[in-house]
């Protein structure tokens, strides 16, 4: 049983169906998950300064709770949550000073046994591409899907250790397993402008538009990503384009959900808490 950590943005922006689709897919593929009994925002961004410890606290609480509830790992859907939780976990296990101070604040001990997992990682390691392929009910043949990784998912390479940061291929393999054609294009690991969506829109728009245009030029019919903020930025930057010029942006779960026919198989699924 994996502990499930929804994160603030995934839970709040249900219009993308990220959570619903992800949980349905996991059910079809036989991975059991259970939401943590209590969780709070991971902090949204990992503090790069060495002398700030308070931003680590909320993530450590989630890691600690996973340990207490005896889950095999902590599953996240959002790249940012994954990035923050994994780096905080890494820091707690490698920085004695940080561990001491955080435990002082929390007045509690964290053993450091929690493993932070991303949906993509679970699909790659615990399910496998072959298994996904066997579950495909409606093959996506003819679809040309561009995959966008973004930054938080990949870097820093030596701490994330999930994918090759310069040439990742996991999402392409998944897309291939679904029967669709992955589109390789430049900038798929470049930043989309991230949090500048809220203060310097022109920065995030120009960075995102570059990515969308490159994907379109390479012949993509849709673009998939695993991060709610990337999805927002990639969609928002196209707001001045004509409708037929727009490239549809989806979560990585959307094509999987469609290919597995998960909507029919997961009808008895319980409604989400909110």
């Amino acid at each position: 049983m994996l502990g499930y950590y929804p994160g603030c943005t995934v839970r709040a922006h249900q219009n993308g169906n990220f959570e619903k689709e992800a949980l349905a897919i996991l059910k079809v593929l036989g991975i059991s998950v259970e939401e943590l009994s209590e969780w709070e925002c991971c902090g949204a961004i990992y503090p790069l300064t060495n002398d700030e410890y308070v931003p680590l606290l909320s993530s450590v609480r989630a890691l600690k709770r996973t340990e207490e509830e005896k889950k095999e790992g902590l599953l996240t859907l959002c790249s940012a949550c994954y990035h923050v939780l994994k780096r905080v976990n890494h820091r707690m296990n490698n920085d004695k000073e940080a561990k001491k101070r955080v435990e002082n604040y929390l007045d509690d001990k964290y053993d450091g046994t929690t493993k932070v997992l991303h949906l993509i990682e679970v699909l790659r390691d615990q399910v496998g591409y072959k298994e996904i392929k066997e579950h495909v009910a409606n093959s996506l043949e003819g679809e040309k899907i561009a995959t966008y990784y973004g930054c938080l998912f990949l870097r820093p390479e030596k701490e994330m250790e999930l994918l090759d940061a310069e040439n990742p291929g996991v999402m392409e393999e998944i897309v291939k397993a679904l029967g669709a054609e992955p589109v390789i294009y430049p900038y798929r690991t470049d930043c989309c402008g991230a949090y500048h969506a809220s203060d310097k829109e022109e920065v995030s728009n120009s960075a995102s538009l570059k990515i969308v245009m490159a994907a379109k030029k390479a012949g993509a019919t849709q673009l998939v990503t695993a991060c709610p903020l990337c999805k927002h930025n990639l969609q928002h930057c196209q707001k001045e384009l004509e409708d037929e010029q727009k490239l549809p942006i989806h979560y990585i779960t959307a094509p999987i959900y469609k290919a597995l026919g998960a909507d029919k198989k997961a009808e008895d699924e319980q409604p989400l808490a909110n």
Binding site: I45, P47, L48
Partner: protein, 129 residues
């Protein structure tokens, strides 16, 4: 870029080293950070120039630059830095110095409607006191 001959006091240098636990003087200007930065078109100094200015103790120029507030901490530079100096971390340290003591850099969130909360929380944490 023209460099004045007189350099600033050593204090800022110590402060920065304390915040990020790195020595910017190790930078050997390979330009990998600037070459891979996706947001350079909005910057006045390129990331390697910020590193150079910090290395030369020209903190006044760094604190006045736009670059620090354009950096989105995507860590492309940090991941590729052959000296493991993590330019994104240096930027964060410099931002922290401004935000903590110099009272500037509090950016306004101009477009909160429809922006995912992840972006709002991140920009509040990165760019405001």
């Amino acid at each position: 870029m023209r460099f004045p001959t007189k350099t600033a006091s050593i204090k800022e240098q110590e402060e920065l080293a304390d915040i990020i636990q790195k020595n910017v003087k190790d930078c050997y200007q390979c330009l990998k950070c600037s070459a891979g930065c996706p947001l350079t078109e909005h910057m006045d100094y390129y990331p390697h120039q910020v590193m150079l200015l910090a290395k030369m103790d020209l903190y006044k120029k760094v604190f006045d630059s736009k670059t620090l507030w354009v950096c989105a901490s995507c860590l492309a530079c940090s991941s590729r830095c052959p000296r493991d100096l993590e330019p994104a971390k240096v930027m964060e340290g410099l931002r922290a110095m401004i935000i903590r003591k110099r009272g500037e850099g509090n950016v306004e969130v101009v477009n909160p409607k429809g922006v995912p909360r992840q972006a709002l929380i991140s920009s509040m944490r990165k760019l405001r006191r």
